[in-house]
């Protein structure tokens, strides 16, 4: 219960903060009673990680806003510089002095003074100033003259400190300027060998000058602000204590919404020190009150705010520890999620800000690929998604590839099915079906390589068909039926849509079937040494198809092998033509004696017998 409470709460707050504030600038306090963000109160479902706000839903881990902020954080250096350490020390000191049992008048005054100092740091986004202003307003309302004097003295001290610092910076700036000029002047006579050193020195001087100028500018602005604030405090008139309390509460809620949990705790401790009437109920509008009640399950009070902030801090600390442990075990998926959660809840917490960039960079690649995988699946680039899943599975041993793999495989199977359907439609000439199946396949997996192949095939099919039709016409003219027969598959497919040519092809193929049958039969007879029979078979086919080259070759071979029979038959036929019935009949009889089953001889005998005995 405790672990999910801050996460859900934090995610909601993160979304609200993302939309409500510029990260490095202080956000104005929302007036009490107004809706904190948009028209509807946002709600977050930790189970589905879906955030609903202003009529829109999105996954908290999968939106550009989160990606951008998270990546910025992952690539940022760790906040371990001297200034960061000083700032954290200031906040720690304030929290220590305001801790229960330690919040004496002196400690409160000292903490107030430290607020002015804390606000000097850029990372604070002037939130300490806002808190100090609220505290001062309460003191005005409570007519605490002594506290006001102390507060003004504290501010005066800060002004003087800033003035001194500004003067020092001015001196440093002038010194940097002098050094720069002096160095450039001294380098002038150095000749041709000097330029590199001169450039380097000039650059260093320029950088130092720029840094000091920026620092001076910042302190000048800060000084102006402090003076303006002191002036505005002077003109503050009597305020009602209730109004001051409500304003203070609104500020606490605002800190909470901005996930500035340390400021929340500082504010609640100041609140308890300032208002000791025992009334800790937060006077919020209905929507804001409902929001807290839904997120925390309790009515909004200062204590609830304080405890939730403390719980969030603890949760962030644990999240970062878990991240480091998972990173050591190369469980990048879980490590990234834990860091993302910690970042979502406590973006400004020291534990999050001090994570070394080296460690963060290790999850950047994984995170990039993870976001790329989500994008690839969204745009249905399943080939890329597949390769990313494999890469992620290799780089992170805890990466759960089941969901993306299921999505990829489903799309792949569906696409294969639709492409097969398109191919069948193309073969059967169903243009409507082809278009429908191709469109569906394209929508399912737009960059499917197989789709491109099929499309190319279908588009080139027209050319192939046209060429086949032309080839068929040419071969038919040349009476090269054998070539048509050898390439019959291509011509059958190509001429399917040309009924007249298909009929011609059918005749050609039937003739070729006869030739092939005759050759096969002749070969079989030759195997039985019946060369006369083999020759007679091919001779009969040859009479029908004299142009076929293979048949010609076979006939020539068997003519040699059955030379006696062929010569006898040829003599008979020749003499028959010369009307020498007797001699011709004698030759036919001789041929019949050589090959009794000879059809040629039998027919010749039959013809001539009828002439002898009509």
């Amino acid at each position: 219960m405790h672990s999910t409470l801050p996460i859900g709460c934090g995610l909601f707050l993160f979304a609200a903060a993302c939309l409500a504030q510029v990260p490095d600038a202080p956000a104005p306090s929302a007036p009490v009673g107004e809706k904190p963000a948009g028209k509807d109160a946002p709600s977050f479902d930790p189970g589905s990680e879906i955030l609903s706000w202003d009529g829109r839903n999105w996954n908290i881990n999968n939106n550009r806003l989160f990606q951008a902020r998270f990546e910025k954080y992952l690539n940022a250096p760790e906040a371990t510089g001297a200034e960061d350490q000083q700032y954290r020390a200031v906040l720690t000191e304030i929290l220590t002095r305001l801790a229960p049992g330690s919040a004496t008048t002196q400690n409160v005054d000292y903490s107030f003074r430290l607020l002015a100092r804390g606000s000097n740091y850029d990372i604070d986004a002037r939130l300490c100033d806002s808190l100090a202003n609220a505290v001062y307003t309460v003191w005005v309302a409570q007519r605490s003259q002594q506290r006001l004097v102390t507060a003004n003295a504290a501010m005066q001290y800060e002004i003087m400190s800033l003035e001194a610092a500004t003067q020092h910076q001015g001196t440093v700036t002038q010194h940097a300027k002098d050094v720069s000029e002096k160095m450039s002047g001294s380098r002038k006579p150095a000749g041709k060998n000097a330029p590199p050193a001169k450039t380097s020195a000039n650059e260093q001087a320029a950088e130092a000058k720029q840094a000091t100028l920026e620092s001076a500018n910042w302190q000048m602005r800060r000084l102006a602000e402090m003076i303006a604030r002191q002036k505005s405090n002077d003109v503050k008139r009597e305020l009602s204590e209730i109004a001051a309390k409500v304003e203070f509460q609104a500020l606490m809620v605002q800190f909470f919404l901005q996930r500035r949990y340390q400021h929340v705790i500082m504010a609640t401790r100041f609140y308890r020190a300032l208002f000791n009437d025992g009334d800790s109920k937060l006077n919020l509008g209905k929507d804001a009150s409902d929001l807290f009640q839904r997120s925390t399950g309790q009515p909004p009070t200062v204590s609830v705010l304080d405890s939730v902030a403390n719980e969030a801090i603890r949760d962030v600390r644990e999240g970062v520890k878990a991240f480091e442990f998972l990173l050591e075990n190369k469980e990048l998926d879980s490590a990234t999620k834990r860091l993302a959660e910690a970042f979502t809840i406590g973006e400004y917490m020291p534990e999050v800000r001090t994570v070394p960039r080296e460690k963060k960079r290790r999850v950047v690649d994984f995170s990039h690929k993870g976001f790329q995988l989500i994008s690839a699946i969204e745009v249905k680039d399943y080939a890329l998604a597949d390769s990313l899943v494999k890469e992620l599975a290799v780089s992170a041993k805890d990466f759960d590839s089941s969901k993306p793999t299921a999505a990829i495989e489903t799309a792949r199977t569906t696409s294969h099915f639709l492409i097969a359907k398109a191919r069948n439609a193309a073969i059967s000439g169903d243009k409507q079906g082809l278009e429908t199946a191709l469109t569906a396949a394209t929508q399912t997996w737009p960059r499917n390589p197989e789709l491109a192949d099929v499309s190319r095939l279908i588009f080139s099919q027209g050319d192939v068909q046209e060429k086949a039709v032309i080839d068929f016409g040419q071969l038919l003219t040349q009476k090269n039926y054998r070539k048509i027969y050898e390439d019959s598959g291509r011509f059958i497919a190509a001429l399917a849509t040309y009924p007249d040519k298909a009929e011609q092809l059918k005749h050609v193929l039937e003739d070729m079937k006869q030739i092939e049958t005759a050759i096969l039969r002749a070969d079989e007879m030759a195997r039985q040494s019946n060369y006369a029979g083999a020759w007679e078979n091919v001779e009969k086919a040859f009479a029908q198809f004299p142009e076929d080259s293979k048949l010609n070759q076979t006939r020539a071979n068997f003519t040699t092998q059955a030379a006696d029979f062929v010569r006898t038959l040829r003599n008979a036929q020749e003499l028959e033509k010369q009307e020498q019935v007797g001699s011709s009949l004698a030759w036919y009889l001789k041929a019949q004696k050589i090959y009794p089953q000879s059809e040629f001889a039998g027919e010749g005998v039959g013809r001539l017998v009828k002439r002898v005995l009509p």
């Binding site: 007797g582 001699s583 005998v605 002898v612």
Partner: protein, 131 residues
């Protein structure tokens, strides 16, 4: 001891006698054959010439001794057409007209044919004698 004179014939005489015997047998066979050929005065059919160009022999009469191979056709008006195995392994067609219908001719029987090379080179039997 008295010596006996030799009584065996001289080998030369034996050889002469053998030669005369062979010549006698051969001559007898020749004379028998000649005597058995009913058409011994006629010329035999020049089979190869006939096969090459029967028309050139039209009108001529020849004799042919051949064996009946098979009867190919029969017509009451025109007679019977036989194929016969002639000397030299050739097969020839011979038309036996109705006038010779009284001669029974069956496969495997050997006959002497008196033949005429008729119109279109058809061999027509004018007389038949069983060999």
């Amino acid at each position: 001891m008295a010596r006996r004179a030799s009584s065996s014939a001289h080998p030369v005489w034996i050889l002469v006698a053998a030669a005369l015997a062979v010549a006698g047998i051969g001559g007898g066979y020749f004379l028998f054959g000649r005597a058995n050929d009913p058409y011994r005065t006629m010329a035999a059919l020049p089979v190869q010439d006939y096969l090459q160009n029967a028309n050139s022999l039209r009108g001529n009469m020849y004799k042919l001794e051949a064996t009946i191979a098979k009867q190919m056709e029969w017509s009451q008006s025109a007679g019977r057409l036989f194929s016969v195995d002639a000397p030299g392994g050739e097969v020839l067609p011979i038309l036996v007209p109705p006038e010779l219908s009284k001669v029974n001719m069956e496969r495997g029987q050997r006959f002497f044919f008196k033949i005429e090379v008729a119109d279109k080179g058809i061999l027509t039997a004018r007389d038949v004698k069983k060999a």
